[in-house]
Amino acid sequence: MPVNPDADIQIIAFDWVPDFARGFVRDLRPRWACEELGIDYAEELISAVKRPLDHYRLQPWGQVPVLRDGDITLFESGAIMLHLAAKDARLLPTGAQARADATAWVFAALNSVEPMMFELGNVDIFSKDEEWAKLRRPGLIDFIRTRFGRLSDALGDNDYLLGDFSIADIAMATVLREGVEAGLIAEYPRLAAYLDRCTGRPAFQRAMAAQLASFKEEPVTA
């Protein structure tokens, strides 16, 4: 079981988040990678409500995760995913082109797909009762559909983005999950099946269970 208080690797995560965010906080990504590789990690849980001031020195946005591995401290889940993946060919293949493809897809998830999910979150959640959000939404949805269509074509009949499972799928599946509620993934059967395949992996299930288990019922403010 990778959660181990004595592990060399530490992941900083929140000790409480609101219900809607549970299962979606980004320490899920490194937890999933560790579970895939069977690498133990220790949790260091901090308050999301009253963030320790020195946390901003490690993570300029005050967010999680942060990963410590010996002398190395990393922030941004993308950087942490690449670091963990580099430990093992099961997540980052060793052939030059396969490695390039895996890396490219990690960045594609973070910089070409996820930003649209952020804007969708603004429209559908933070501003959902605003008149402008209703008017902006159709154009945004068209744009997301174009990109999902291309992603579906690129996946083709493969089980995973590179054929075999890799870090690229941890990045892309966690991004696609952010769009499930809007109903868009369901329009692309290949993407829907891909997402089910990724989140059906035992390592994902264990990572999710570990994140959920780390939350207290009520926020700790003191």
Binding site: Y56, P60, W61, G62, Q63, G70, D71, I72, T73, L74, F75, E76, S77, G78, A79, L82, H83, A96, Q97, A100, T103, A104, V106, F107, A108, L110, N111, S112, E114, P115, F118, E119, N122, F126, S127, E130, E131, W132, A133, L135, R136, G139, F143, R147, R150, L151, D153, A154
Partner: protein
């Protein structure tokens, strides 16, 4: 001058883009990195930004974007992945020690995944919302996300010249991302404005920008 038709490295770029996008397309980042390490590259221009891309191009770049990077048998897409690849080859872009290397990569990804989306939203709304009544309220709602990130970034940078002891792909990406910030929003943080100025005054940045603009100018002359 790194643009060389016989170079081993090839990058793709558009032949034409609308005036507001000139100098801002993401091949700029890769050109800049190549200029920093004096690596010659050739250009493959793939038509206008709004033209449909041939199916063969989508095999190299699934979203039809630029740049695609080729080096011998290797093909790579996404500017972040390309910068990481170039950094692995040259410590002037990515220091070798694990601690410094980790910091540079964290910052590069922070720029791409935590800063750029907030600024890109403003650009997208400004363009997609042209002449629409919803544009101003949508931008008003999006602006605080960007302003908050810039304030946090300014605090993290402090009074340092670069994020680390020397310029890295972390700075290159952060500065290229910050170029998209609204002028007043950037000017609210003098240290960030100076950081962008410091980066864009580097000779390699200037050569890269000139090369991107030259590609558009040659096309509009009708060659």
């Amino acid at each position: 001058m790194p643009v060389d038709p016989n170079a081993q490295i090839e990058i793709t770029a558009y032949q034409s883009v609308p005036p507001f996008a000139e100098g801002r397309i993401k091949d700029q980042r890769v050109r800049w990195a190549l200029e920093e390490i004096d690596r010659p590259y050739r250009e493959r221009l793939i038509g206008g930004i709004f033209e449909d891309k041939p199916v063969e191009y989508l095999a190299d770049q699934p979203f039809g974007q630029v740049p695609v990077y080729k080096e011998g048998a290797l093909t790579l897409f996404e500017s972040g992945a390309i910068l990481l690849h170039l950094g692995e080859q040259d410590e002037r872009l990515l220091p070798r020690g694990a601690v410094r290397r980790g910091r540079a990569i964290s910052w590069m990804i922070a720029a791409l995944n935590s800063v750029e989306p907030t600024l890109q939203t403003l650009v997208v709304l400004s363009v997609a919302g042209a002449e629409q009544d919803w544009r101003e309220p949508a931008m008003d709602a999006a602006r605080p996300f960007a302003a908050k990130r810039l304030a946090q970034l300014a605090r993290a940078l402090g009074d340092r010249d670069w994020i680390d002891d020397s310029f890295t792909i972390g700075d290159l990406m952060a500065i290229d991302v910050l170029r998209a910030a609204p002028i007043a929003m950037l000017a609210a943080h003098p240290n960030l404005a100076a950081y962008v100025e410091r980066g864009t005054q580097r000779p390699a940045f200037g050569r890269a920008l000139a090369a991107q603009l030259a590609a558009y100018a040659n096309h509009s002359k009708g060659d």
